[in-house]
C-alpha cells in the first residue's frame, strides 16, 4: 500500500509549508533519508548533542519489515527532504492494555523520528515543526480505517514522554519492565478522537 497526500508543516516563523505525507515509504526512500539525516546528526554529536534515539538504524528496520504487509513506514516530506518517519504495526501486534479496552486491537507505533534539524534534543530552533504530530495522526487514522476505533499504543523514550502525555494527551499506563523499562502510552477511542479534533486545524 502506498498513499501520498498533500499536508502542511510549520516553519520556524510558524508559517505553513506545503509537504507530502507518504504512507508506505519504501526501503530506498528510507535509505535516502538516512543518508540525508546522518551528516547533520554527526555534526550535532561532534558538538556534544545526541538524541536519545541516535542509535536507531532506520535502514535496518525498513529491511526487516520488507514484504510484511502488517508493518508500515509513514513519512512526511518537504521537497525531496524527509522531515520525519514513523513505523507502525497493525496486525499480530500487541493489544490494548487500558482496562476499558483490554485485549482489543490497536495500531502499535514502534518508532518515530523527526529529522535531526527538527529535533529539539539537537537544535534550539527546529526548522520545521509538526512532523511528529502529523505522523501520529496518520497512525490514528489507520486505526480508524481498520475498525480499531483509533486505539493506538506505544512505548516512549524518556525525553518524548512529555509530548505523548501533555501534547497528545495519551494515557500513561506506567513503566513496562518487559520493554526496556520504557513508559507505555495508549489512546482509547475517545482520546484518539479528541487528539484528532485538537490537532486537525493546526498540527
Amino acid at each position: 500500500m502506498r498513499i501520498e497526500s498533500a499536508v502542511a508543516l510549520r516553519d520556524a516563523n510558524r508559517q505553513a509549508v506545503a509537504a507530502d505525507l507518504i504512507v508506505g515509504v519504501t526501503v530506498d526512500e528510507v535509505d535516502e533519508t538516512v543518508a540525508l539525516w546522518t551528516p547533520f546528526k554527526l555534526a550535532c554529536e561532534q558538538a556534544g548533542h545526541r538524541s536519545e534515539h541516535s542509535h536507531w538504524d532506520w535502514s535496518k528496520k525498513a529491511r526487516a519489515i520488507r514484504g510484511a504487509t502488517y508493518y508500515t513506514v509513514a513519512g512526511v516530506r518537504i521537497g525531496t527532504e524527509m522531515q520525519g518517519l514513523l513505523l507502525w504495526g497493525d496486525l499480530f501486534s500487541p493489544t490494548a492494555r487500558h482496562p476499558t479496552q483490554l485485549g482489543h486491537d490497536l495500531v502499535y507505533v514502534h518508532f518515530v523520528s523527526t529529522a535531526p534539524w527538527n529535533d529539539r534534543e539537537l537544535v534550539d530552533a527546529p526548522k520545521f515543526v509538526g512532523a511528529g504530530t502529523l505522523l501520529l495522526r496518520t497512525a490514528v487514522e489507520r486505526s480508524l480505517d481498520l475498525g480499531y476505533k483509533g486505539r493506538l499504543g506505544l512505548h516512549s523514550l524518556t525525553k518524548a514522554e512529555e509530548f505523548y502525555r501533555d501534547k497528545c494527551k495519551m494515557i500513561d499506563m506506567g513503566i513496562d519492565q518487559s520493554h526496556e523499562n520504557l513508559r507505555y502510552y495508549e489512546f482509547t477511542p475517545q482520546l484518539a478522537q479528541d487528539f484528532l479534533n485538537r490537532t486537525g486545524v493546526n498540527p
Partner: protein, 70 residues
C-alpha cells in the same frame, strides 16, 4: 486511506453467529473483523505456500502444537 468497494456476503446462521461473537468480543464492526481475517489469511497462506508450518505456543506450559492446515 484506500478506497473501498462494497460486496454482498451470504453466511449461514452459524457463520453469522460467529461473526457477531467476534465483533462483540473485539469491539469491531463485522466488516472490520472480516478485513482483519482476510489480512491474517493472506499472511498465513503466503507462509504455508512457501512450505512453512503453522504452530501455536503456550508460553506458560512451554508447549508447542502444529496447526494442521488441509
Amino acid at each position: 486511506m484506500a478506497e473501498k468497494r462494497t460486496m454482498t456476503l451470504n453466511l449461514t446462521d452459524e457463520e453469522m453467529g460467529l461473526l457477531d461473537e467476534l465483533s462483540s468480543h473485539y469491539d469491531m464492526s463485522k466488516t472490520a473483523i472480516l478485513r482483519k481475517a482476510l489480512r491474517m489469511y493472506q499472511v498465513i497462506d503466503a507462509r504455508l505456500r512457501k512450505g512453512e508450518k503453522l504452530f501455536t505456543e503456550d508460553e506458560l506450559e512451554k508447549k508447542k502444537a502444529e496447526l494442521v492446515v488441509l
